[in-house]
Amino acid sequence: MSDAHLSEVVHEPQSFIRRYIFSQDHKVIGLQYFLTAVFVSLVAGGLAMLIRMQLAWPTATWPLLQKVFPDGFSGGIMKPEFYLSIVTMHGTLMVFFVISYALLGGFGNYLIPLQIGARDMAYPFLNMLSYWVALLATVVMLGSFYVEGGAAAAGWTSYPPLSAVPEAVPGSAMGQTLWLLGMALFIVSFTMGGLNYFVTILNLRARGMSWMRLPLTIWSLFLATVIGLLAFPPLTAAAIMLLMDRHGGTSFYLPAGLFFGKKLLAHQGGTPLLWQHLFWFLGHPEVYVLILPPLGMTFDVLAAFTRKPVFGYRMTVYSFWTIGALSMIVWGHHMYVSGMSPYIGEFFSVGTLLITIPSAIIGFNLLASLWGGSLRFTTPMLFALGVLALFGLGGFGGLFLGTPTSDIFLHDTYFVVGHFHYMIGGVTLFGMFAGLYFWYPKFFGRMMNETLGKIHFWLTFVPFYFVFLWMHFLGLGGMPRRYYAFNEYQFLSALAGQNLYISIAAFILGAAQLLFLFNFLWGIWKGRKASENPWEATSLEWTAPSPPPHGNWPGRTPTVHRWAYEYGVEAGDRDYLPQSAAGRSASA
């Protein structure tokens, strides 16, 4: 934070390649992450549609799809192993290559320097490298569809021995190897990006930007980064060990006596539970890495459209910290019925249910932030309210699964699918939309269409409840997840037909996202020109031009005089004061 940094002359790269392709500008890298996430989401969303198609009409033939996927639809019928591949890849791509990229890579990159008043990230070159490794990871992961045996089919959790033994399932041939390489590369990329975000927030805050003046978006990104840096690298080790089990003859995860077809395998001495522990040591903190940023962004969007400070800023920050700490010691709640010691299970459940306390404080603060506000229902506000509603329902669902006694029945049923789609599917999705509609004018200097935005909201919100709330009930009915069809079981015969209605709602949900895509792309060229601060918001990014130039502020970087929520005050003809405004404020 030296004076030199404040006023340093920023040299903008002139060549197209240095400016837009191998750019070290955090804003360009952020948009590159967004574009990658949008592209992957089209693939992963398409896979979701195929899943719903199969579940709606399990015995139908699809001659047209046979032309597109000659192996997956041989004879026009979707093959069960192809179904497992698309289930696996839908989960993997959405969690790691869409949501992580958009929230951390996209919003993290774009917003961190702008909201803390820095010209760029601490390590611009590392930042660029992080994106290019992320892209390589994406290419490897998507490429796995085209290898012998198809993409990985052992679920997004890739439990061995299914994922370790090529004979176990067709996807466990080359597809699984590429899956592991893709994951390892993803973690390498995340570690580079995360380290960068961490150091940047720590060191490059503008003058006067003390910790308790940070917008909650930054707090949430900061903690998400810390959690990710601590929790992700062990999976790299786990992936390497699994690769060695697959190709090097080791037995980290494979016990003696495995028998496939007519062959006894030579492995001995390992245990499949080791992978589960290592995977969930990453996997559970990962869901908090994904869910904290949308919550932080929602607070900031709510403040702008209630025209008042958020409720309980400090308690929210403390809750983020508590969640961050607890998230590291609860991974075992994914393994209550795995054969792990029931005593350890009880420990994990007590920890897991402790997380409901800071989570409930956050939910309460979101709700209380509305009290007495001057509510303005713009599109970002609608999506932020969606986050609030989804976080409530999703959180309550978590009680059922965090409690081991009820989890015995609900484990691996559609209740789990419904629950995590509310949390890491829904809160994140609605949070991303709230953020994208909100910061779009900053990204591109133009507005998205409000009417289309509202239609998009309603066509997302209502079908979302229909699809994923219903899945909770199917889970209560005992319907297991990852089933190719439900026509083999009598006890599921009454429930199986309901999949048709869920699928129809899911198709509407999927199609509605094309509306967003159109709005997003159309707005870049045709949207109405946006002013510097169209939402009359307070944080520093709104004092920069839209879109901000290289180096973010043409002159000196701003100096901060107040926290990020100075709304509802008398300030001339305005009801807010930007963080960079000097002088005292009077409450309205």
Partner: protein
């Protein structure tokens, strides 16, 4: 620009409020339908109690939360000026006690008071009079075995596994001769504890009895025991609940719960290993 646009959009608030009120009501109405498969085991009553307790608590919070949300959208939507700006730090801390106390009571209270006794019993030692069944799961079948007259299970070895002898039962062990192997069909006597010994020979599976509220992963390299008391006679399905390959969705077995006499009769009649 923003001001006009933001005020123009307040109209959405009231429909959204109504939707927020309808959501929990619809959820509760649909949830009231009996979704759980009919109960057929002793410890299952505890699991169902836990589920009902959570459904009631979470349902009540869901209704209250959404009512409050809808009320605020209705009341404060489009209000031109902020009517309440911010609470004092002390008020914010005080209000935080509501979620803290609620979640401590509902979540941790539920785990300790209702959940723990059921969990402890389910994973506790099985009663001495239990019927023991040995199950070896494989892609995509359940190999079921009773110890036979001598009450001792014969030795198994992976080296002896073949299509005819899927569990690798060792004929050189005298204890194996009267073992009763069967594939996919399991008999149990009603109202008597059943001890199930679970092993897997290839990948992970999960032994899932929806009606008996039993679910236990079957892990290669481990022998895991569960026990339960079936309380209803009849035919019940056994499903696999852990992804185990392309036939996962059809790894179906059958549990036939019969009277004690019928059970003994069946054991007499079923063919033994040798």
């Amino acid at each position: 620009m923003a001001k006009e646009e933001m005020h123009l959009t307040t109209g959405v608030g009231r429909p959204l409020a109504v939707v927020m009120w309808l959501i929990p009501l619809a959820a509760v109405a649909i949830g009231m339908r009996g979704w759980l498969p009919p109960l057929a085991s002793e410890h299952g009553a505890g699991i169902d109690l836990m589920l009902r307790y959570l459904l009631i608590c979470a349902g009540a919070l869901l209704v209250l939360g959404h009512l409050a949300l809808g009320y605020m959208l209705w009341r404060f939507g489009g209000q031109p000026r902020v009517s309440f700006r911010m609470a004092t730090p002390k008020q914010e801390r005080t209000w935080s006690f509501i979620p803290i106390i609620l979640m401590t009571l509902i979540a941790e209270g539920g785990v300790f008071l209702i959940g723990l006794p059921v969990w402890g019993k389910y994973y506790g030692p099985s009663p001495a009079d239990a019927v023991t069944v040995d199950i070896v799961a494989e892609q995509f079948a359940w190999n079921i075995r009773y110890a036979g007259k001598d009450g001792v299970f014969g030795r198994t070895s992976p080296n002896l596994m073949s299509l005819d002898n899927p569990t690798g039962l060792d004929a050189s062990d005298p204890a194996s001769h009267d073992d009763i192997p069967s594939i996919g069909l399991m008999y149990l006597p009603v109202n008597r504890p059943a001890r199930i010994r679970l092993r897997a020979k290839d990948v992970l599976h999960s032994f899932y009895l929806p009606f008996q509220r039993v679910k236990q992963d079957v892990v290669p390299g481990m022998a895991i025991q569960v026990w339960f008391v079936p309380t209803q006679t009849g035919d019940f399905e056994i499903a696999c609940a852990e992804l185990c390959g392309f036939g996962h969705y059809q790894m179906r077995g059958l549990l036939r719960v019969v009277s004690e006499e019928e059970f003994e009769k069946q054991l007499q009649e079923l063919p033994t290993f040798q």
